[in-house]
Amino acid sequence: MEYLLELKNITKRFGDLVANDKISIKIRKGSIHSIVGENGAGKSTLMNVVYGLLQPDDGEILFDGKKVDFSSPLEAIDTGLGMIHQHFMLVPVMTVLDNIIMGYEIGSFKLNRKKSKEELKPFFKSFGLSEDLFDTKMADLSVGIQQKIEIIKALYRQAELIIFDEPTAVLTPQEIKEFFVLVRNLNNNGKTIIFISHKLNEIMEISDEISVMRNGHLVGHVNKEDVTQDQLAKMMIGRDLSEQRITYVENNNEHVMEVTDLVTPVKLGSVGLKKLSFSVKKGEIFGVAGVTGNGQNELVNILVGIEKPLSGKVVVEGHDVTGVPPHKRTDSMAYIPEDRQSEGLVMPFTIRENLLLGKVDLPQFIHHKIMLDFKNIDENANNAIKDYSIKVSKGPSDPVHSLSGGNQQKVIVARELSNDARTILAVNPTRGIDIGSIEYIHSCILLEREKGKTVLLVSNELSEIMALSDRVGVIHDGRIVKVFDNTDRLTKEEVGYYMLGGKEEDYAKEAANV
């Protein structure tokens, strides 16, 4: 069989959302095949279908020419598949040995740990791991080693096809180098590899063949030799917003936000901030561009006050807010969160109630000190609906869960962009909403700048950053690696280069090559 795995018209729906739309991919035996796409493109869903964690609504899967229908991962494993998930399937409090043998133990009742150790010794040797690790607790090990254990888990179960889901997301650069060596060794030993990622430089380095997904569709399939990183990026991102650009205005104002040397620990699921610093001038829109998972969450949480850095300082509007919990904050920073449903809104609440969140102590909404002033509250809500064109079915008493994503976001924007806030933190403010609402919210943000407010925009949508920012900082691996002060002639490619891990020294060379 030339192809070890064939996906034919795989479709998977979650309610109205089509996560995989008639995906057909052929994986050549012995190849390293990468599947790339932005977050939400449907890559992980597809692999979960292949691995038996999810059942497809339509389509079929062939393994080594034979039709297979996995109703559970156990069947996939028995057939010869192995999967290394982005979030490791390990138990921190258990030993390395127990983590590996769990579900695949030797012995019918009593555990024969000794025999398992014997069987695993050759694996450990070839991965360069000491036998002392057998009895070490998983939690005590570095992420790089944990990943090796995950791989050994799959190999021990005689996987022929190994799927890696975003494997380098939490590895240090050194660990990433080691990881690639490992993958090549596996490949040289006959294993077929599927590699899921959005890190184009890594894809270009390791893959034989590349399939590109976008919004649940397969948009392209190429051989590595036939494509450039740039072309891949275009296939991946695809969406073209009206390339509105703000006119660059020279800004010599003082800094209204200063972030200095923030450090957070590296742990499972976090790259950790590694002395991250930047500052934002009054009246500007500062865009922090970066691929998801490079420290944005940690930065935002520290700015909001729900997390404390190990070291470093944050000053907002002259107040030192490092480690200050939100309810004690004295600055006026508004927050438009990335996840509107979990951090921005109380979903069962109505529009008028959500507009009060955090503002219910304001004198205009209260009379007699504790009673809610419904007249003013309703007026406030009606104004917001009008001013921000929020599409409602009845009015302020609509529960927000009945609104579309874009309108939900408008409620948050309406609440946060009130006159009190002089600084605004917006994180992926247009994630997952319709084009019309995106444009509208962008114009709101620009309007705030006209009013003299300061905006810190953190986004993984490069077009959004380019459209709105006066200055751009690129976040990569827990640091701001480059700040562009003049965005007049800035190109997406240049920003993208730094977003994907490019180094300043190498940029001139790259630019010369294109």
């Binding site: 964690l53 494993i77 490791f88 399937m89 409090v93 258990m94 769990m102 579900g103 009742f109 555990l111």
Partner: protein, 301 residues
Amino acid sequence: MIDIIESIGASTIRMAMIYMLAATGSNMAEKSGILNLTIEGNMLVSAFTAVVISYFTGSPLVALVGAIMVGMIFGAFYGLLVITGKADQMISSLALNMFAAGLTTYMLIAVFGSAGATPRVAAIPELSIPVLSSIPIIGKIFFVQSPIVYAGFILVGVAYYVLKHTKFGLRIITVGENPMAASTVGINVRRLRYFAIIIAGAMGGIAGGYLSISLSSQFVKNMTAGRGYIALSTVIIGKHKPINIALAALLFGFCEALQIRLQLLDVPTQFIQIIPYVVTVVVITFFVGKDDNPSAIAQPF
């Protein structure tokens, strides 16, 4: 003096075994990720069942077996509610406990026509182990006890062994810590949890039977009197480890043994009686971190 030591020591073991049995079993369920507050109700229905069966068959042995089986059914029912039905585990536990209380009192009247207690029935006699029981002091404390006590100590050892050295134990622990990881390697999380809660039910059944037809020879209305919750305490204080749980059970057994002695002195008994509860609160506040509970506890899968 020696008499007092022997007497208190023997009482300690005797009372501690209630908690030891129930807690060791419940620990299995909790290790697999199920919050188990149903010990109280479990013990109560089993205690009643033991008395009823002993009454009608005259055989305490058959009665004990019956108590265990009823305990298993009780556990399975709880499992049905919270594993398959995904009901809130805490409230379901409390509801089941209430249900057990109502059911046993109801049956007390329905079967025996009494509102307070059953008549005396055939009970399990103490068994004095030859040779060992002649050892000074220790002999009287450890080796003149109900056979259930001996079985109990063995079961604690079995529990320890199972969790540490068997396939089943390893999977139980995994399922309680990271059910997702377990299911990705093909372990049937729900089925394993059912096993665990049924085991807990069985051991609660032994504890209940021990209470009614070994420590006593009748069923008295609501005779568990909160002991199920003390057993829960020992699980928490013992940080879900079988040996530590057994030690905590001994501690509280000691408190109970002491209580009776101290009534002869002037110390108000209530101060002794609240020791298990206060100790639990203190331990759970200052000494039990988030790490001491199985990570996936009380989350339906």
